[in-house]
């Protein structure tokens, strides 16, 4: 982009312009993540959502697989983060109408639909909702419960204001009734509001409109919309959810009783080449169903769950174990069968399903409730979206993308992230959001920091001379706590505790509005400690620490009392006892709060150089992106050549020429002036911490030290060397990579082969390697299709356990079947046998349908060998203090929301070092890691926690007990006037507190978790002791 244009644009402040850097369309998890990443790397963001609130589909989910985190609980803190961010402007209930201009200079017209509510006046008090006479099906609860014509979209909505449904409002329809106007105290209702048009000027656009679920009503054969007890999986998410239509009681719609027999039907609307169906696989349904089964069994351990499925596609990280977890539960049946919905039984509204099994033939069985595992469709208004933004769609109606860069659309300056790229789960949507941040950062690098502003907090109040004033807020968490614990009684009790000067309650303390209310109370009541009796610090502590800062008190004056996970969730059937326990928990927290000290976090300067380890596509892509964004980058590769495993891959299913791509990428990497490549490289030693790492390397025999601020680990993976099926004994048994090389080299034996057998899952999905290697099914189909191109007469059989051609890869699986490639399923306890037979080989496999042994001749047997983690992993983990999972892949900080971050700050992850993945996925993740890294590199400082250890010199007896237990090397002896004493290097301390427990004299102490603080809690744990 022309520099002077940027200047002109940014300097022109003469008129009142809505000037930003990026427009993000869609406020689901992908749009939210992208907004935060961009806002944190120096850009000003407009975040537009057509719904009345941020949140997208993720806000409707009950829990998220495979960790079963509460979906809203991990998403809603991000709503507040967005709303408090000075660089994010949220525009909800709005649609983009027009986009003019070009990359770097877009002019966008946005229409805000009338809410019939003045957003700045509405307090979210819900009085209008109480008085509104019109009941409507609640859209957020999938119409399973009732709401009113005027309502708030959901309790934690951002913004937390009502809106009026024009279709049902009596005034807007017929000019009758204005009750709401009369009861609204702040006069926030304006039933004559008109649409408002806003013009925005931005440099780039990100489309993150998400998806819609397949609507089974369109096809009447599922009984949906006709039979009351047939629901979709999204309906079922709401049914499971404590904020759902039945307050979290697992009931069925027809008679609100507990269903004892539930059936799930997989692939509804997916993998179906029929009118109204989608040919592709929606990629998420297998695992979300397993999640729903686990959750349903959690609700009611006695119920029977039956899952009618096709292939089980557990291709994601930890999915295989998750599947096993669901399968092992009592009274859970996974049945591989196509099904049809039979009939609804009039007396009890049960639903019958007809299915067939190999053993028992066709059966018809009755169920209390049937859940349709519906697939993912493009957004309903996708045509309009495509026209407005002038982008092309693919044949399935999703955004057309380039496998070499799945973040690009067909229009320059317009990017795409999330499920609009194609079916994606939450981590993929988050990764592509961060990836968009990286690419928009490349495009708009020159304007970075021009429009953005720093967050300004009020000055921190000095409370050292104040008497203790503890505030206690008790949160209902909707029905989660409120239904079990007697909240008014708890509030009343809290107010009587020592040092408590105010106690109050909130429906959802984590809603933006209520969090601000708490902040106000702190100021108005002069509170200097805050105890929140609510959920867990794991998800919500940062948010409420921030709330304390907003109120001008030290953030470490915040104390969480977990009365949800530790109380209401586990004691839901003993309400009185739960209330007593909640009192105990609050009393303990209040006692601890009295001891809390104000702590200082400290800012550390950031070295703006990046280090990337691993020179495959992942490492090269992330290195190049950071270099393009103006940072110095070192790229380390252990081999003498860049390219990694991709050097052995020649083409992909979607037709990408991998070697051509690799050549281009390598050239760009070598040519970039701020990117230095070190090959034949070994890391010898690492010291330092986020912002200031020092890595010693030996490259081509030369030792050097690299100072850097962040590091990206992209050490890749390796192909497993099989130990079965005659591999290594017969040279006619090869792996897929060898086959691919021979196809490209046009080897004689491949060209002439008449019969070829492929065997899947070689070396994984087994006890010692309990994961799916994700890429092999696609790889087998890819090579099989290539072979059919060479020789259409070749007999190819693929022996598989589950074909996992997820997403759009399903089309190629179908194409392969159409081209007469035989797919033969086997069970793991009855694997195929490969034997030498004459000049060739013979493969024997049990035929599950006919119950006989199938004997296949083979000129070549091709093994789809597992993807193994790289053997350099443990060294990297040790050097950069990051963890690995039991399979030997690296463990990200949070599987859903921090998929490329590590728990240790300043260290990021991408590519197959994380988990096996296809090249497009690797590229996306590599950009994602670059995007996350730049949120640190683009800042001047990073902040380190205040909860670190310190030493009271006078108590230290120099025994060294602390030093020997600290793996972070954060403690050392220093000479002091009192002799040699232990001293903590605060920036290296991670606050685990091992040293604290080892110190004989209590000289070393972990701030925020001192003996005093913890003893205070222990002393209040047992009430008898208090009163006696």
């Amino acid at each position: 982009m022309d520099n002077s244009l940027v200047e002109r644009q940014l300097m022109d402040t003469s008129v009142d312009r809505n000037l930003g850097d990026v427009l993000i369309v869609g406020g689901g998890i992908s749009g939210i993540q992208a907004s935060l990443d961009m806002a944190n790397s120096g850009f000003r963001v407009y975040l537009v959502d057509k719904a009345p609130s941020l949140g997208g589909k993720m806000s409707q989910l009950d829990k998220t697989f495979p960790s079963n985190d509460c979906s809203m609980c991990i998403e809603s803190p991000k709503f507040i983060e967005c709303s408090r961010h000075p660089n994010i402007e949220i525009i909800t209930y709005a649609e983009v109408d027009e986009v003019a201009g070009e990359a770097g200079d877009f002019k966008v017209k946005v229409t805000k639909k009338p809410r019939y509510i003045l957003e700045d006046k509405c307090t979210g008090c819900n009085i209008c909702v109480d008085y509104c006479p019109v009941k409507i099906p609640d859209p957020f609860n999938q119409g399973l419960s009732e709401s009113k014509s005027v309502h708030i979209y959901f309790s934690q909505a951002e913004p937390l204001v009502t809106y009026v449904d024009p279709e049902t409002c009596l005034y807007l329809k017929e000019g009758k009734c204005q009750i709401c106007v009369g009861v609204c105290k702040p006069n926030a209702i304006d039933l004559h509001q008109k649409p408002e048009q806003i013009e925005l000027e931005v440099g780039a656009i990100l489309l993150a409109p998400g998806y819609d679920t397949f609507d089974p009503k369109l096809r009447t054969d599922f009984g949906y919309g006709v039979m009351e007890n047939v629901v979709t999986s999204l309906d079922f998410e709401r049914i499971l959810c404590s904020t759902g239509p039945y307050d979290g009681n697992l009931l069925r719609p027809s008679d609100k009783t507990h269903p004892q027999k539930i059936a799930w039907i997989q692939c509804v609307g997916s993998r179906q080449v029929i009118p109204g169906g989608n040919s592709y696989c929606s990629a998420v349904c297998c695992t979300y169903t397993q999640k729903q089964v686990i959750l349903a069994k959690d609700h009611d351990n006695g119920l029977d769950a039956t899952i009618f499925h096709n292939d089980i596609r557990a291709h994601g990280k930890d999915f295989e174990r998750f599947y096993q977890r669901a399968e092992k539960l009592d009274d859970v049946r996974f049945i591989r069968s196509y099904v049809t919905i039979g009939r609804e039984i009039p007396e009890n509204k049960n639903v019958t399903i007809r299915y067939s099994t190999l053993d028992e033939g066709v059966k018809e069985e009755e169920f209390d409730l049937v859940v349709l595992s519906v697939g993912l469709n493009p957004p309903k208004d996708v045509e309009r979206l495509a026209t407005t933004f002038d982008i092309e769609l693919n044949e399935h109606g999703f955004c057309k993308t380039d496998p070499r860069n799945p973040i690009l659309t067909t229009r320059a300056g317009v990017f795409v992230s999330g499920a609009f790229q194609g079916p994606a789960d939450i981590p993929e949507a988050v990764v592509s959001a961060s990836a968009a941040d990286a690419q928009i950062g490349e495009l708009l690098n020159k304007r970075r920091d021009r429009l953005s502003r720093e967050r300004v907090y009020p000055e921190e109040r000095d409370t050292s001379e104040e008497e203790l004033k503890i505030g206690v807020v008790v949160c209902h968490c909707g029905a989660n706590i409120g239904r079990v614990v007697d909240i008014p009684a708890l509030v009343e009790y809290s107010a009587t505790l020592p040092n408590v000067s105010w106690a109050g309650e909130n429906l959802f303390a984590c809603s933006t509005e209520n969090a601000n209310q708490i902040s106000k109370q702190i100021v108005e009541k002069g509170l200097n400690r805050l105890v929140l009796a609510a959920c867990t610090p794991r998800t919500h502590e940062p948010l409420f620490r921030d709330t304390c800062r907003e109120a001008g008190i030290n953030q470490y004056f915040f104390e969480f009392a977990n009365i949800r996970e530790h109380c209401s969730w586990v004691h839901s059937k003993e309400k009185e006892k739960a209330t007593e326990k909640a009192k105990d928990i609050v009393r303990m927290s209040v006692a601890r709060a009295a001891h809390l000290q104000p702590l200082k976090e400290f800012d550390l300067p950031v070295n703006k150089t990046a280090l990337v380890i691993g020179g495959g596509p992942a490492g090269m892509t992330s290195a190049l992106s950071m270099a393009e964004q103006g940072f110095e980058v070192y790229l380390l590769e252990k081999e003498s050549e860049l390219g990694g495993m991709a050097r052995n891959i020649h083409y992909t299913l979607d037709g990408m020429d991998v070697q051509e791509y690799l050549k281009g990428l390598t050239r760009k990497v070598y040519q970039h002036s701020s990117l230095r490549v070190l090959t034949d490289c070994r890391i010898d030693d690492v010291s330092g911490y986020v912002g200031n790492f020092l890595t010693s390397v030996t490259a081509e025999g030369r030792v050097r030290e690299i100072a850097h601020g962040i590091v990206i680990i992209a050490t890749g993976a390796e192909e497993h060397r099989p130990t079965e099926y005659l591999y290594g004994e017969s040279d006619q048994v090869v792996t897929q990579l060898t086959l691919e090389a021979e196809i490209v080299q046009q080897s004689d034996r491949v060209q002439k082969a008449k019969n070829l057998v492929m065997i899947q899952c070689v070396g994984c999905r087994q006890e010692d390697k309990n994961y799916c290697s994700r890429v092999c099914c696609g790889q087998a189909v890819k090579n099989a299709l290539k072979l059919k191109e060479i020789n259409p007469e070749m007999e190819i059989s693929i022996l598989f356990r589950d074909m996992r051609t997820y997403g759009f890869k399903e089309d190629y699986y179908r194409e392969a079947a159409d081209k007469d490639i035989k797919f033969i399923r086997f069970e793991p306890d009855n694997k195929p046998v490969v034997e030498v037979a004459g000049d060739g080989l013979q493969v024997t496999v049990p035929d599950l349908v006919l119950g006989q042994k199938l004997e296949l001749e083979a000129d070549l047997v091709v093994l789809s060998a597992a993807v193994n983690p790289s053997d350099s992993g443990p060294d990297m983990a040790r050097f950069y203090k990051c963890s690995m999972n039991p399979d030997g892949f690296f463990q990200e900080a949070h599987v859903k929301l921090r998929p490329v971050d590590f728990g240790s700050d300043g260290v990021f992850l991408c590519g197959t070092a994380h988990y096996p993945k296809h090249i497009s996925e690797t590229i996306s993740q590599a950009y994602g890691a670059a995007g996350r890294a730049v949120t640190i590199l683009s800042g001047e400082t990073v902040t380190a926690s205040g909860s670190v250890c310190d030493v009271n010199v006078h108590d230290c007896i120099s025994c060294g007990a602390c030093i020997t237990c600290c793996n972070y090397d954060a403690i050392e002896f220093v000479e002091t006037p009192y002799g040699k004493k232990a001293k903590v290097k605060e920036i290296l301390c991670k606050g685990d507190g091992l040293c604290n427990a080892k110190c004989p004299t209590g000289a070393i102490y972990l701030k925020h978790y001192t003996d005093d603080e913890i003893f205070a809690q222990i002393d209040q744990a047992i009430r008898e002791e208090v009163t006696s």
Binding site: A877, A961, G993, I1014, I1022
Partner: protein, 215 residues
């Protein structure tokens, strides 16, 4: 904060406050969220604490350490229910031990006073690092460990108990032994070593021991 932060003193404080049991839950070995593998430190600390509790006549089963991952809600519930049942079986602290409230209190006080010394001993003589839980269990059951424990801690603990007991009023060696459930020969040994150190004095008239002035 890591489970390794759980101090012996926390456990003793809870028992002193009348808790009938103390539960410590940690991450599974090999799944440390830090890189310190601090759960092995926890394992050591808690096995060590059990040993100390046992030494003062408290059933070590009242302290329970379990590995439970964040995702194992049902396992957590199972473990807690099981522990609750077990504690109900044991009855209130002291009852199954046949310790009266006073002795119980004294014993826990004696242990608490011993913590700084115990930590030093742990660091200097007892600390080991193994890769599996089994190895820790075997170590704590080994003759080697028990010899060291006996040699380094048992006498100290007894002296600590005697001192606390004498703080209330002078007692004869026999009464001390009876009160503490320690054999009289050992008590005599401790008393003579303590009087050599000037910690206790023998009142010839009363035929009993008392804390030395200033001790």
């Amino acid at each position: 904060m890591c489970t390794g932060r759980v101090d012996i003193a926390f456990v003793l404080r809870a028992f002193s406050n009348g808790a009938d049991g103390v539960f410590v839950g940690g991450c599974w070995p090999g799944e440390c969220h830090y890189v310190t593998e601090g759960n092995y430190d926890t394992l050591f600390n808690m096995l060590f604490t059990k040993k100390l509790l046992e030494q003062v006549g408290i059933n070590p089963d009242r302290l329970r350490l379990e590995w439970i991952a964040a995702s194992e809600g049902s396992r957590y519930a199972e473990v807690m229910n099981n522990f609750g049942k077990q504690l109900k079986g044991l009855g209130p602290l002291g009852s199954s031990e046949e310790l009266d409230a006073k002795t119980l209190k004294l014993n826990l006080q004696a242990l608490t006073k011993l913590i700084p010394y115990a930590k030093l001993v742990e660091r200097e003589r007892l600390r080991v690092r193994f890769k599996t839980e089994q190895e820790y269990l075997e170590y704590f059951a080994s003759d080697e460990f028990n010899r060291l424990f006996e040699e380094l801690l048992v006498d100290k603990l007894a002296i600590s108990q005697i001192m606390l007991l004498l703080r209330e009023h002078p007692l004869s060696a026999r009464d001390i032994a009876k009160n503490l459930g320690i054999n009289p020969a050992a008590v005599s040994k401790h008393l003579s070593s303590s009087s050599r150190l000037g910690l206790v004095s023998f009142d010839e008239e009363q035929k009993c021991y008392a804390l030395a002035a200033g001790a």
